[in-house]
């Protein structure tokens, strides 16, 4: 087929899929108005996509979705229980180097301006005294921290991370829509979008000259390190925890940057220093990149109700011993109303005009401004000045004045009389469009870009080339990072071939060789340990279900279940996988409950929920493959149908085995892996001992014993070794005492002892920590048992010792009981 342009089946590979692209106003579309070189790059990129999909763009979308999935890219909207897959369009927004350098200069100027404003309002406060900024502009912000007045940050920088929402107008000019000085939400998603796009499109991004992002992330890391007191600093990302909307983003950033991901309860303050609790005792932290609002960082100095903060954290900041970025209170300048003052402040503080204008803004705290807004409602977007809820904007967001009903208008005017300072208004900014691939093909969509800045090692601002693109389904992009129906896309800055930027060989400084990723925080050790326990428990329940159904089929008589099946059912009861007295049910019903009854603490579905919860916390430590294995849905089955339940149990066993194998194969043999394996060993030891105690209560038939061998995966070994039917003592020896059997009790105890011998000791006298002493005792005791004389009492004693050992491990390595902020301690009222 020689003709590549078009044939009977539509555009062939290599044709220009953008040839028929149209937008309302050509000047208002980023592609149609692009410089010829940039437009060429756009066309060749899209043509490349089409070629990859063999002419089918939907297939490209499919590739991309798979990469998004593999990266674990997900998000939650407020109110979501489950994470959603990230919507990403494969067509990036392209910006030429010349245009970008203008934007870049404007962004850096704005960052410096906001820094100067913060320095003033937390310092000498000339802006208030001289009438350039009303004090109510500061005190109105929920992120203004009075406490920080007069406290200087190390290195003198209030801002280190800064994000800006930008819009391109129909005339091609760029405007600032909003400032983000509190949290740079989206920077991790920008990184992920780039990773997903470059993985799914091969060399396409490189071929069009897209500037790389890695310099920005290097600068971010080095900028923080440069202002730390110690030369080889320990830097952590301070997260509110996994229930936070942007937790997946935080976990990704921590992993990408090599920061530890810590929660408030991992941290403690001693002598004006910050420490993280680790399995090797407490370790000092030099810098925190916080993803927590100022008011929540320290219950003693800010909101006493905060349960995610660290008591006395502020003390550490004040002492100059730790870098906290952004500095507490930096969010005070991100309110919508602040934009109204930016042109004047820029003139005043920097002595120059704003390079990048913001959308014209009026703060209604001024009488003239209030009157103007009241008279021009139809032409303005009305906002809550400080993003606080009010009668018309219960979510603290914005409304188009023209869309207000008569009743709402009356309420607004009344509010503007009573509390004018709560409102701000902005001109309506019209958004340019960009080509977006959605279900119907390539169509124009309105877009905004969130750009990101950080300070490098020399303290100078570095701008992420490109950023996070958002394309809206309904044209309203003023709200949160991403909303229902929005699509995100990568934003690329293009260097023309032969330009200085493109010629510049990447300056790569090899890092110092290291083999460990810092000391394991206690919290992470705790999570890994329980991840191991739950994975093993889920695996064993599925195994019992399968064995029970097999035994039931083999031996079920007309009067009821066979003895083996009913003993296995009692074991499921003991593990809490099925309700008490469930052993009287039909085997298929018991099995179904053990797999899928969500209100049973020991069922597979309950373990699975716990496993996923813990895995989310460990996201920065799990490989992509383990993550994917973990996120496979639980197998389905038909209620009451033995065959389908057996199949489901089989599949579940394979899935959990795959997860364990992938995790064990990819985790470095560090303390993290040891805790995961320690959890599995303890659980396996305990479950196997319980299985023996339940299935062999003094006497057992050959079928009972066969079932027990099956649980230990030792049927074949037994038959090969003994060449006869199962007898009690040889079976118990094989599943409990044989140190060569990978599922036996003694084998687990040996593993536990080995792990504990390798983990750090807190004692300085050279003696072993309590968990190791207990593990050694237990091993020696179990090893010396004789299968011929094992009694139920011995088994009970072993179980008790295992439980003591598990408690000793928790006490030694994991966190103390959580600090309880006392909020209602003072009943001093008359």
């Amino acid at each position: 087929m020689a003709n590549q342009a078009e044939d009977l089946f539509g555009p062939g590979p290599g044709a220009d899929p953008l040839a028929y692209y149209q937008a309302g106003e050509p000047g208002g579309d980023a592609y149609l108005a692009a410089q010829p070189q940039v437009a060429d790059a756009w066309r060749s990129f899209v043509a490349g996509l089409v070629a990859q999909g063999n002419g089918d763009l939907a297939r490209v979308r499919g590739f991309l979705d798979r990469h998004v999935d593999e990266l674990g890219l997900a998000y939650r909207l407020t109110g979501d229980e489950q994470e959603r897959a990230w919507p990403l369009s494969p067509i990036p927004i392209l910006i030429g180097a010349a245009e970008w350098s203008g934007i870049e200069a404007g962004l850096v100027q704005r960052a410096e301006l906001l820094e100067a404003v913060l320095r003033d309002i937390y310092g000498d406060q000339h802006l208030f005294a001289d009438g350039h900024l009303p004090p109510a502009m500061a005190s109105g912000s929920p992120h203004f921290a009075r406490r920080m007045i007069g406290v200087k940050p190390p290195g003198g920088h209030y801002l280190r991370q800064y994000a800006v929402d930008l819009a391109r107008g129909p005339d091609g000019s760029w405007r600032v829509l909003a400032d983000r000085t509190r949290l740079s939400i989206g920077v991790g998603y920008a990184l992920e979008n780039r990773l997903a796009l470059s993985r799914s499109t091969g060399s396409l991004l490189g071929s069009i000259g897209a500037r790389r992002q890695s310099d920005f992330f290097d600068a971010l890391r080095e900028g923080i390190a440069a202002d730390c007191v110690r030369s080889d600093p320990r830097i952590a990302l301070f997260t509110p925890g996994r229930f936070n909307q942007s937790y997946p983003e935080q976990a990704l950033l921590a992993r990408h940057l090599g920061f530890s991901l810590v929660e408030g309860r991992d941290l403690m303050v001693r002598n004006s220093r910050l420490f993280v609790r680790t399995i090797a005792g407490v370790k000092r932290i030099d810098a925190l990149w916080r993803w927590i609002n100022t008011r929540d960082i320290d219950p003693l100095h800010f909101d006493s109700r905060s349960r995610i903060g660290v008591p006395d954290l502020l003390q550490v900041c004040v002492s100059g011993q730790m870098l906290l970025c952004n500095w507490p209170g930096a969010g005070a300048v991100e309110s919508r109303a602040m934009s109204a003052f930016m042109p004047r402040l820029c003139d005043r503080l920097l002595g120059e005009p704003l390079l990048l204008p913001n959308a014209a803004t009026w703060w209604c705290g001024g009488q003239d401004e209030r009157n103007y807004v009241a008279a021009n409602l139809d032409r303005l977007i009305i906002s809550s000045a400080f993003r606080q809820p009010n009668a018309l904007m219960p979510d603290g967001s914005s409304r188009a004045g023209a869309e207000l009903s008569a009743a709402e208008r009356a309420v607004l005017l009344q509010e503007l009389d009573r509390r004018p300072m709560d409102f701000a208004a902005q001109e309506v900014v019209r958004l340019s469009t960009t080509p977006c691939l959605d279900d119907g093909g390539i169509a124009p969509r309105g877009f905004t870009i969130r750009a990101f800045l950080t300070r490098g090692a020399d303290g100078q601002w570095v701008v992420l080339p490109g950023g996070f693109g958002r394309m809206s389904s309904d044209g309203d992009l003023r709200t949160s990072l991403i909303g229902e129906g929005d699509i995100s896309c990568d934003v690329c800055v293009l260097d023309s071939p032969g330009s200085e930027q493109a010629m510049l060989a990447p300056v790569l400084v090899p890092p110092q060789v290291r083999r460990a990723q810092g000391v394991l925080p206690s919290q992470a050790a705790d999570n890994l340990f329980w991840l191991g326990r739950y994975v093993e428990r889920s695996h064993q329940v599925a195994r019992v279900v399968r064995t029970m159904l097999d035994a039931g089929d083999a031996l079920q008589t007309e009067t009821g279940m066979g003895s083996a099946a009913s003993r296995l059912a009692r074991l499921l009861e003991r593990w809490g996988a099925v309700p008490r007295a469930a052993s009287a049910w039909r085997p298929a019903d018991i099995a179904g409950a053990a797999l899928g009854s969500a209100d049973q603490p020991g069922s597979v579905i309950t373990q699975d929920r716990r496993i996923r919860g813990l895995a989310r916390l460990l996201r920065d430590r799990l490989s992509r493959d383990s993550w994917r294995a973990l996120n496979r849905p639980l197998p389905r089955y038909v209620q009451g149908d033995s065959d389908s339940i057996t199949a489901a149990a089989d599949q579940q066993l394979e899935q959990s085995a795959a997860f364990v194998r992938l995790t064990a194969d990819t985790m470095s043999r560090s303390a993290a892996w040891r805790f995961f394996d320690l959890g599995m060993c303890i659980e396996r030891a305990s479950l196997m001992t319980q299985a023996c105690a339940t299935i062999v209560p003094g006497q057992a038939s050959a079928v009972d014993l066969a079932a027990l061998l099956d649980l230990a995966d030792a049927q074949a070994v037994y038959r090969a070794r003994y060449l006869t039917m199962p007898f009690i003592a040889p079976v118990l020896d094989m599943v409990l005492l044989d140190p060569q059997q990978p599922r036996s009790l003694v084998f687990q105890l040996g593993g536990i002892r080995d792990h504990l011998e390798t983990l750090p000791s807190l004692r300085e006298d050279g003696l072993a920590d309590l968990p190791l002493r207990l593990a050694r005792q237990l091993y020696v005791r179990a090893e010396s048992l004789d299968a011929e004389t094992l009694t139920p009492r011995t088994l009970d004693d072993l179980l008790q010792a295992l439980s003591d050992l598990s408690n000793a491990i928790s006490k030694r390595f994991f966190l103390e009981e959580a600090a309880t902020p006392e909020r209602d301690g003072a009943q001093l009222l008359s």
Partner: protein
């Protein structure tokens, strides 16, 4: 009037707690018309460290750190205070003018109006309270008259019921129940005033209690008290109004601290490690020295 004030608090824990870090906000701030002498603070057991902090509102904080296991903590704050009755302004600006004056003040210190203009953690806006307050706070009304009218309505319409609310009850809930104690009344009034753009602050302190006729004053039967400070313009400044007793604050009110709401001036708060419940017993004695 001259008073001797003795304020004893005992915190106790069913099981010992560890690493307790406690903020005490008991030492009175410097306040117009008040002069204090002989301030004493006794703490048992002795904390491992103590740190004095001033602010960020009009409040003295002493931050304690108790490293050892703790099952009970006794704090006794005592001082002698001379209180002169404040001068009551004869004329205050209209509410419309005051709103503009408040926004025009070019300061943000702890006595400036700006910090007390907006909703705060424990004093969140509530449309029902604003609606209820509207008849007292009409635009051309003098601000002090309007505020006194609000205090009178709270005094008449709300039931004083100790124990009906806790220190974390929201003004909205107290308003709906139309009952509470001084903290609730003060916070309802603050929300009402701020809803109309009037700067209003929460004041903690002590009140001299007059025993029933023919009875002896009961030592230690008093408690801490709370009222409202209303910003009445550049000239008049902050004026104290006590909605619990429907009066302007006078010789009987001893100011300890001022903040946006209870949380800024809570006499005791803090954190500790442990699962134990904290109990607190308080005895306050405000004795006139005549």
């Amino acid at each position: 009037m001259i008073y001797h004030v003795n304020h004893r608090s005992v915190l106790s824990y069913a099981a010992p707690v560890f690493d307790a870090r406690i903020n005490l906000r008991l030492k009175p701030v410097a306040w117009p018309g008040q002069s204090m002498r002989d301030y004493r603070l006794e703490i048992d057991p002795m904390p491992a460290s103590m740190r004095d902090e001033v602010g960020p509102y009009v409040v003295n904080t002493l931050a304690l750190n108790l490293a050892e296991a703790l099952s009970a903590l006794t704090v006794v704050s005592s001082f002698t205070m001379q209180v002169d009755a404040p001068v009551v302004p004869q004329h205050t600006p209209s509410i419309t003018d005051l709103r503009q004056q408040a926004l025009a003040v070019q300061r943000i210190d702890a006595l400036a109006p700006a910090p007390y203009l907006y909703a705060s953690r424990l004093a969140a806006f509530e449309p029902d309270i604003a609606h209820w307050a509207a008849t007292s706070l009409t635009s051309d009304q003098q601000v002090l008259d309007g505020a006194l009218d609000l205090a009178r309505r709270i005094y008449r319409e709300f039931a004083y019921v100790p124990g009906a609310t806790s220190s974390s009850t929201s003004p909205a809930d107290a308003f709906r129940a139309r009952e509470g104690v001084c903290q609730d009344f003060a916070q309802v009034m603050i929300v009402a005033l701020r809803s109309f753009g009037i700067p209003a602050a929460y004041v903690s302190g002590y009140l001299r209690t007059i025993p029933p006729p023919g009875r002896e004053r009961l030592v230690g039967a008093d408690a801490m008290h709370a009222w409202v400070a209303v910003w009445c313009g550049d000239a008049a400044g902050w004026v104290g109004i006590d909605p619990t007793n429907d009066c302007l604050t006078g010789e009987s009110h001893i100011t300890v601290a001022m903040g946006r709401d209870y949380a800024d001036v809570a006499p005791v708060d803090g954190v500790f490690v442990g699962q134990s419940v904290q109990r607190m017993k308080v005895q306050v004695d405000v004795a006139p020295l005549d």
